[in-house]
Point group: none
Chain length 300, copies 2
Amino acid sequence: DRKDEENEPECENILSGFQTSRVLRDSAREKIIFIHGKIADEEAVVILEKTPIREDSLPELFSSSTLRLEMRNDVYSTYRLQVPSHLNEIKTTVVCPATQKHVKKYQQQESFLVEETAQDYESITLPYVQQQSFSLQWVYNILEKKAEADRILYEDPDLELGFVLLPDFKWDQKQVDDLYLIAIAHQRHIGSLRDLTSKHLPLLQNMLQKGQEAILQRYHLPHSKLRVFLHYQPSYYHLHVHFTNLGFEAPGCSVERAHLLSNVIQNLQSDPKFYQTRTLSFPLRADDGLLGRFKEAGRL
Amino acid sequence: DRKDEENEPECENILSGFQTSRVLRDSAREKIIFIHGKIADEEAVVILEKTPIREDSLPELFSSSTLRLEMRNDVYSTYRLQVPSHLNEIKTTVVCPATQKHVKKYQQQESFLVEETAQDYESITLPYVQQQSFSLQWVYNILEKKAEADRILYEDPDLELGFVLLPDFKWDQKQVDDLYLIAIAHQRHIGSLRDLTSKHLPLLQNMLQKGQEAILQRYHLPHSKLRVFLHYQPSYYHLHVHFTNLGFEAPGCSVERAHLLSNVIQNLQSDPKFYQTRTLSFPLRADDGLLGRFKEAGRL
């Protein structure tokens, strides 16, 4: 993917002046840490995540590293391996300037399962989402090629049925093991699952089929190796579909938040108003304003 | 912990001569890889795992690393951070000489997503499950109090609507953070989701409500903190329901295998034959006999 890494300019290390205020979240299992702090007087969130170990780097890793013994017992021994830094990078994401919303988003919070009836959606969720008026500018930047244009893997430019397919921020594209792509519909004003009716079936089927084909072409992953799903609630209210490697336990693929696209299509085929009438369960974090609304309404 | 790291002897790098034969398992999420190979003519398994990011190392990490820009869009930017090797070690475990048992233990099986139509169920899955005649004796032992009687947390003894609630083997009961309970129906001959019709609604509603109540009483977890689901395919063909702490990303709670009980109930309420007519997706491991049947039938 990146043939002339050596020629890439090393950029100014804006992190050397980073002042940590606190750790928002930290997963020892996933080797990731979310930190809130300041870069030159601006609020920032910095996310550091160790990269997966790549099979193709193993020979160089083994030959060019230093091994330090920790423990030996019978056939078992443990070591600390010190590795040349270019073989062991840390994926770094900076959000700057960061708002209170960003900080909240990355903060670890208890979750509660909400059971949203169709009426709850109309009287609680929809008014809340509309009041928030989350900015979708970054989504429109992508769709209009004003940003991330070089990251687009596939596009169907049709304004009704088309979409743009690109890697999720969480994926470093170094190995397909944790493949994570997002398909963003060109069609606007489909906020979430709740807006989908049978009239969107051609769009959804197109995103599923062409997304699968593009991934087969580019990554040689057949559709039996893919988990293709939507989130409800989504993290932004513009229709997008998640494509992940089935073998990768991606964050957010749990049954309480993820909806397989193949099931969404079947549900709409058997009932055009499925998502306007059903009770939908989803988790909300303790600090989510929407949870507060459900509590005020006595629905939790 | 290790004050005089500098004085520790660097040991002979036995890995420099490691010959990889294959990757047994690889988790991009956990940044761990299990490799089978040879060290000086002896069979060996080598496990490499990136270390968690330590809060106390952050100041040195930020000041002494090199940052390379990958992408910039609006307030978001991503980088690759190249870090001094002593701040970014890889935990290394060597099993040598390794037996066949070690190799099998660490081996991961690939999974494939199967899309089972109603007809596939009749012609492929059901005949396979019947042929296997998996023993359910251990389940009947629990229901008849011939085994694990002291582990039962709650029982509704009704033979039509009742069930037994007990901890899953995966849960050590030391903390509610990873609470994992199983409710096993007294009623027999409900093999899986495919057998459920609207006549089972009273049973399912009873298991959901009384299971939630028992967990609230015993563990003070309200139902908004619970993920209550069935598996399809199940690991044994006798109706059982999983109750897990919502905050615990339990294995097997991914959308491709788990079905929220509240959704199962709604599906049966709106269509009594829902599970006899729908296409259901589920993952199968490469070594699963059922996957072989789907392949023979040209369905994968």
